[in-house]
């Protein structure tokens, strides 16, 4: 069996609670001591403001997709930014169409700890007619076990969560 075939054991953070460790009578033995490893939990609630991007999230709560357009050079951003990346001028809010095309995608079979329960899911960049940049979203309604490059270019439509959580996942797309 090649090294590649070895059985992988799931990683966990389980361990024993200990209240003391052995100590040698000869101090020279200390350098041979195994390292002491502790579990150390850390939880925190952040107060995150969407700041100037807040109207985008208000849009999601009202089933509207909002992008921005540069008031000077006309660059149209499908993911909103209030300052134009091309020329530095101010951008104004504009509404996006609710149909798009898949520009690039993947199927996540693993993910960050927070998203492991969602796996597998389709993550994609989608493009909109009349907009110069893309938008990151999830695609529902495709078989994650049968990914195909033919998905690129596919027409998809926006769907919105009925009760908004004011997160970018309030919107997702499905094949039309």
């Amino acid at each position: 069996m090649s090294r590649n075939d070895k059985v992988l054991v799931d990683e966990t953070l389980e361990g024993a609670v200990v209240f003391n460790v052995p100590f040698p009578s000869d101090l020279k033995g200390l350098d041979q001591m195994a390292p002491i490893i502790l579990k150390h939990p850390y939880h925190v609630d952040y107060i995150h403001s969407y700041g100037q991007d807040s109207p985008f999230f208000a849009g999601l709560a009202n089933k509207r997709l909002m992008g921005t357009k540069c008031t000077a050079c006309g660059q149209a951003f499908a993911t909103p930014r209030k300052a134009c990346m091309e020329c530095g001028a101010e951008c104004e809010w504009v509404e996006l169409p609710q149909q798009a095309r898949v520009h690039a995608f993947t199927v996540c079979h693993f993910g960050s700890e927070e998203f492991l329960p969602d796996c597998p899911f389709v993550l994609a960049q989608v493009e909109f007619e009349g907009f110069d940049t893309l938008f990151l979203t999830r695609i529902q309604g495709l078989d994650p076990t049968a990914p195909s490059l033919d998905w690129i270019g596919m027409k998809v439509g926006a769907r919105f969560r009925r009760l908004s959580r004011l997160k970018p996942t309030d919107v997702w797309f499905e094949p039309l």
Partner: protein, 456 residues
């Protein structure tokens, strides 16, 4: 700017976890190796060094702020000047260049760049969560923040644009893991086949576990010096050191949100991003044809920052044709796909030709058996050390690890350092190191060159 030489380097053993030591002691391991290589005692090294630059990516992994100063004091380098550099995956490469600046500017004569990451403090998927925080937490992270997923999206677009195949990507994994068989510092030393790579667990389609680097604990350290500094170190060591000079540095950036990257037209590409070797009738015809098929640049399939960083470094080093003029490249292959994309950014081939280049043999070593049928002979080995995929990716150390391995190539001391001559690029005189952060947001490229005769 003054000339800057690379004098010595050291790396710790890269491993999934190093609970035997704290991060400071792992840095000390790399630091001591760089000192021993010069034939000096730590006391002498401390006296010779004017200061340092510290490199580490994340404060989350250790839940320790100001780790840099803790390494600095553990090494005995206080009260000498130092600062910390951070730039995602490119942290190590940026640190190397900050140390270069310290010397080139005249601020220091002898500067050490040291870097580390100890990622084993959290479980792998929590670690991926920390890394994914290096994406926009308003718009990107909550959708399914996962770097392997981000790179996988880039590569599906690359496959669609250019016909790049999963087998070509797997070939990169075979090459780099097999090279690492002869690198004792590497974390994953494996004789794989293309089939092994494709059959390993799917992580983010089409990237499997063996297309992706692992998290690691590790450290690396590199000495840089001016001519005066070099003379000072040589006086202390009593021996002449090989003249390995930094002849070009370059950096580039791109938008954090991949969605924001532009899609420029042919004329803009030629005006702002084309390399001198692409500015020929043949090059223009090739790209006009690509644009005719709907290609736009850089989109999400190419790293514009890699292109501009490499163009700047090559221009400063007087390199017009990187494939012909570089003897080897150590580049940031966090993913097999990003090695292929980086070939194109660096001008080792044109955009769209990275897939075929990955599998035709030119980026392989003549001295290693890969179990593959390669159509062309080795010309410019890429990641002869095994790269990030096989060596591991302790983020803050990675770009400095590349500098150390590149230095050993140019010193022709790979046989001594690796205990095996197979990874030594024959007569290596000029090499590039390439360090890359979050989907191509920060990229640094540095060119190292052997100035004197080069007899080992």
């Amino acid at each position: 700017m003054r000339p800057v030489y690379v004098l010595s380097g050291g790396v710790s053993k890269f491993a999934k976890a190093r609970p035997d030591k704290t991060f400071q002691a792992i840095v000390k391991e790399a630091f001591d190796a760089s000192i021993a290589d010069l034939g000096l005692e730590p006391r002498q090294a401390i006296e010779l060094l004017d200061g340092s630059v510290a490199s580490y990516f994340s404060d989350h992994f250790q839940r320790q702020l100001m780790s840099g100063i803790m390494a600095q004091d553990y090494l005995g380098l206080v009260p000498k000047p130092s600062h910390r550099v951070e730039g995602g995956g490119a942290t190590g490469g940026l640190c190397f260049q900050e140390a270069w600046k310290s010397v080139a500017s005249g601020d220091m004569d002898v500067c050490i760049a040291y870097g580390f990451e100890t990622m084993s403090h959290v479980q792998t998927w929590k670690g991926n969560e920390f890394i994914a925080l290096a994406s926009d937490v308003s718009f990107d992270y909550p959708v399914g923040g996962f770097y392997s997923g981000y790179y996988a999206m880039m590569v599906t677009r690359h496959m669609k644009e250019f016909g790049t195949t999963v087998e070509q990507m797997a070939t990169v994994s075979v090459k780099n893991h097999r090279n690492a068989l002869y690198n004792p510092y590497a974390q994953k030393r494996m004789a794989l086949t293309v089939d092994d790579v494709r059959k390993s667990p799917m992580v983010a389609w089409p990237l499997t576990r063996l297309d992706i680097c692992t998290m690691s604990d590790g450290a690396a350290a590199v000495w840089l010096a001016s001519e005066e500094g070099l003379a000072r170190v040589e006086k202390a060591t009593g021996k002449r050191l090989p003249r390995v000079k930094v002849t070009g540095v370059g950096r580039g950036t791109d938008a954090m949100r991949m969605a924001d990257r532009p899609h420029v037209d042919y004329d803009t590409f030629y005006r702002k991003y084309a390399l001198p070797i692409e500015d020929t009738d043949g090059g223009r015809a090739y790209y006009r044809d690509l644009w005719g098929k709907g290609f736009r640049y850089p989109g999400v399939h190419s790293f514009r920052a890699g292109r501009t960083a490499s163009a700047q470094a090559c221009k400063r080093a007087g390199i017009a044709d990187p494939m012909a003029e570089l003897d080897f490249v150590e580049l940031h292959d966090a993913y097999t796909s990003s090695e292929i994309q980086t070939y194109e950014d660096m001008g080792l081939c044109r955009y769209g030709e990275g897939g075929p280049l990955a599998a035709d043999g030119r980026t392989f070593l003549a001295s290693v058996e890969y179990g593959l049928k390669l159509a062309k002979p080795s010309t410019t080995p890429v990641n002869p050390s095994g790269g990030l995929i096989a060596c591991g990716h302790p983020v803050g150390a990675t770009g400095l690890m590349q500098a150390v391995f590149a230095l050993w190539q140019l010193q022709h001391t790979i046989p001594q350092h690796f205990g095996d001559p197979r990874l030594q690029v024959p007569n290596a005189r000029r090499g590039a190191i390439h360090s890359h952060a979050g989907t191509g947001t920060y990229v640094s490229v540095s060119i190292l060159e052997r100035e004197d005769g080069g007899a080992a």
